[in-house]
């Protein structure tokens, strides 16, 4: 490993030479790994090398050199340059090549994100990061370390729709648990912003019930939002955790969210004045957690729930009676609420302004249309696919040596007459 300019040029030559096919690329990769230290020390002088390389063809080499260049601390105008060059690279690089060196790729993307945030222009980073995710993923079911960064940029730049489109993919494989927590948390926030409470609930539920040996701040914050979204979407909150929640979570999460649990208790009583009082008392906590907007939505959802309950009992009801039952101040307010609910599709009703009466109607869905049949069909296919996945996973697991070892250990030793389901080599 001679450290002189000569080897740096040979580096370029190697890269250009060995970027042909996969065999050469693996060779190149080991070579580059050797040169890593060299690259770091020569980082300031590497910039001109980049011009000699074509990022779309020599992606692997370009990646290494780019990473080495950018690892040094930068000034503001250099940051802008950096952002542009990385963005350009991400757009044109070849996916198979960068997958050979994922840590390097992740490291420059993270650097990219940092700079973009520092420059106070998160929107510039959204599209490139999306491309980078798609190139890094081996399948759409894989969660990469870049996912949470992407979500963060979407949140900061308020590009919620793009975030939602990524959230549409189901995720099953994960590199790092921490990525999952952050991804689900940010994803939940995006869904809340887009008022897709069902999906938000799902994502936050995944954070809260994920296996974790100790709880993290992310889990605590997610739990708080989970409580609020559950109140808005379902009208209730089950304070008991499902069985599969980790014991650390079950023991500790409630301690950090006392004011939220108070809110739940007041909500279930059903009196709006009580809930508002509770909100007033705990206003500071809610504000410091940045949840005050969500809490306000909880309060307005109470009116909705009460009105919905009325649809079960009454066919027609006067606006005055609605106002009285739901504890609103006047029939006009009641009318406004009902109107809004009709527009959002929460209830089916008609308002007769002449008599001041509201007539509640049945859900007009008859389940007879073609769209409904298609929906059913899609649902069935989806579930079949998921079941198949489950069976495959089960089969893979039953061939796993560590699993067999554990089973083998636990079965009785001297049952020679029984049919031997586990090969004796797994017996300890």
């Amino acid at each position: 490993m001679n450290l002189n300019m000569h080897s740096v040029e040979s580096l370029v030559a190697q890269i250009q030479g060995l970027s042909g096919n996969i065999g050469e690329l693996t060779q190149l990769r080991s070579y580059l790994k050797h040169c890593d230290d060299l690259l770091r020390t020569e980082s300031t002088r590497l910039a001109p090398l980049l011009t000699e390389l074509d990022p779309s063809v020599h992606s692997l080499g370009y990646l290494y050199i780019l990473e080495a260049c950018t690892s040094a601390p930068l000034s503001k105008d250099q940051a802008n340059e950096l952002v542009l060059s990385i963005a350009r690279f991400i757009n044109v690089c070849a996916a198979e090549q960068i997958r050979l060196a994922p840590e390097k790729f992740i490291s420059i993307c993270k650097r990219f994100k940092e700079q973009v945030v520092l420059l106070d222009d998160p929107m510039r980073g959204v599209a490139p990061l999306l491309t980078s995710i798609r190139k890094l993923q081996s399948s759409t079911e894989q969660l990469t370390t870049l996912h949470p960064d992407f979500m963060l940029l979407c949140l900061l730049s308020k590009c919620y729709k793009i975030g939602l489109s990524v959230l549409e993919d189901d995720v099953f494989e994960i590199d790092q648990p921490r990525d999952l927590f952050l991804y689900c948390y940010y994803g939940g926030m995006i869904c809340i912003g887009q008022k897709q409470f069902r999906k938000a609930l799902e994502l936050l539920h995944n954070v809260v019930t994920a296996p974790m040996p100790i709880i993290s701040a992310i889990a605590v914050e997610a739990y708080k939002k989970y409580i609020l979204v559950s109140l808005i979407h379902l009208g209730q909150f089950a304070t008991s955790f499902p069985k599969y929640t980790s014991s650390a979570a079950q023991r500790n999460l409630k301690n950090f969210s006392q004011s939220y649990l108070d809110l739940v208790n007041n909500y279930s009583i059903g009196k709006v004045s009580e809930v508002e009082k509770c909100v007033q008392i705990n206003k500071d906590t809610f504000e410091s957690d940045n949840n005050l907007g969500l809490v306000k939505q909880v309060v307005s959802s109470m009116y909705k729930r009460n009105i919905q309950r009325l649809t079960q009992t009454y066919l027609t009801l006067s606006l005055q009676d609605i106002a009285n039952t739901v504890q609103l101040n006047s029939p006009k307010e009641a009318e406004m609420h009902v109107l809004q609910m009709i527009q959002e599709g929460d209830i089916y009703a008609t308002i007769n302004q002449k008599d001041g009466m509201v007539r509640f109607l049945e859900d007009p869905e008859q389940y007879k249309t073609c769209e409904m049949i298609e929906r059913l069909d899609l649902s069935i296919q989806r579930i079949m696919m998921l079941s198949k996945k489950l069976t495959t996973m089960n089969e893979v697991m039953s061939c796993d040596p560590s699993y067999l070892g554990k089973v083998g250990r636990e079965r009785q030793r001297f049952d020679y007459d029984d049919f031997d389901t586990v090969h004796s080599k797994f017996n300890i």
Binding site: T209, Y314, T316
Partner: protein
Amino acid sequence: MESEDYASGAVIGEEEIYANGRDESDPQRHRPIISSEQLDIEAYAALYTGRTKTMRLLFIADKCGIPSMELEALRMAYEEIKKGEDTQLFREIIGKINGRLGPNYALDNAWADAVDRRAESRKEKLENELNAYRTNLIKESIRMGYNDFGDFFYAHGRLGEAFKNYIRTRDYCTTSKHISHMCLNAILVSIEMGQFTHVTSYVGKAEQAVDGLDPVTIAKLRCAAGLSHLEGKKYKLAARKFLEVGPELGNNYTEIIAPQDVATYGSLCALASFDRSELKSKVIDNTNFRNFLELVPEIRELINDFYTSHYASCLEYLGNLKTNLLLDIHLHEHVETLYEQIRNKALIQYTLPFVSVDLNMMANAFNTSVTGLEKELEALITNDQIQARIDSHNKILYARHADQRNGTFQRALQTGNEFDRELRSMLLRANLIKHDYNLKGPRKY
């Protein structure tokens, strides 16, 4: 309520639709017999014997709230207790009377001391006898010895010890008659103590008798079982037990319950918990039970009214009986619940045959206001006991039958979604755990 003179094919006019439950014009119906008379304490107390008489009188004195009645009850209790040997209860009664009944009803220490001394000597005698029997190892005598002890303690108001002694006879019982005797004693003491779990278990034991029991004992056991179910708020079971009591009971169980009580408890529980067919077959058509119902004509009337849908008069009877029922020692805590259940049943039964009901007529039938009725119906609809919806504008109740087909589709789609969500979360969690496990490094095999 037939209107026999409408022209065939003509629409029934407004005036011909009779409001159910209020029929001024039919002369054949009896005017309801309102019984709001105050409970006749002497007559009431005459129905019972033994300790329960005193306890019931004390209960009435506590709960009635009318001073004259209270004093009357306490006076009778005093006289009753003087006939017995329970000095503890005696002192209690004196405390309650508090000198209000004059010098004749004051603390008679002489009497109390005499009784106590007598008790001491009797106890010694019994102990000696029992020890003698025990050394002789004659089962029958030992059994009688323990029994005597039990009786002695019971008479002196020491119920816990009485119970223990009765139980001890179990080892020395040889015939099933002995066993049933022991069980009946145990049941008596348990009811006095208020421990109804024992009652149920001993009723069970007694009923397992190998060579059948005589009808009186069977009737007694059924009463006891009914009482314990009543205490346990299992009104349907209580009703069934009381309705099975045969007329042989007569006045044989006055230490616990009078036949009027059997009729009252059985009817009220049946009314609150049976459905229409059971009510007809087990209560109205029950010839055995008819004997009991004759003793409480108001209750008989009220059951018939309920069955024939004259709800207003039925509820009127119930209202009038309420004060007296609240003075009953066993029924006291259950009166409100039973009444509520009966009223709800009446409301539900009223609406059942109709597609639409005019709330004004219904309010008339139940003798209540339309707004009050609306509130009650709202509660019943929310609890899913009536399938209907209220048209508040026109004050009509419309029956509503859920569309099964739509409901099924909706539930199917929902289940699918839930399954989808749960499965995906589970696969995610499994992957996380696998990842953690892989990190920790698999052991080499």
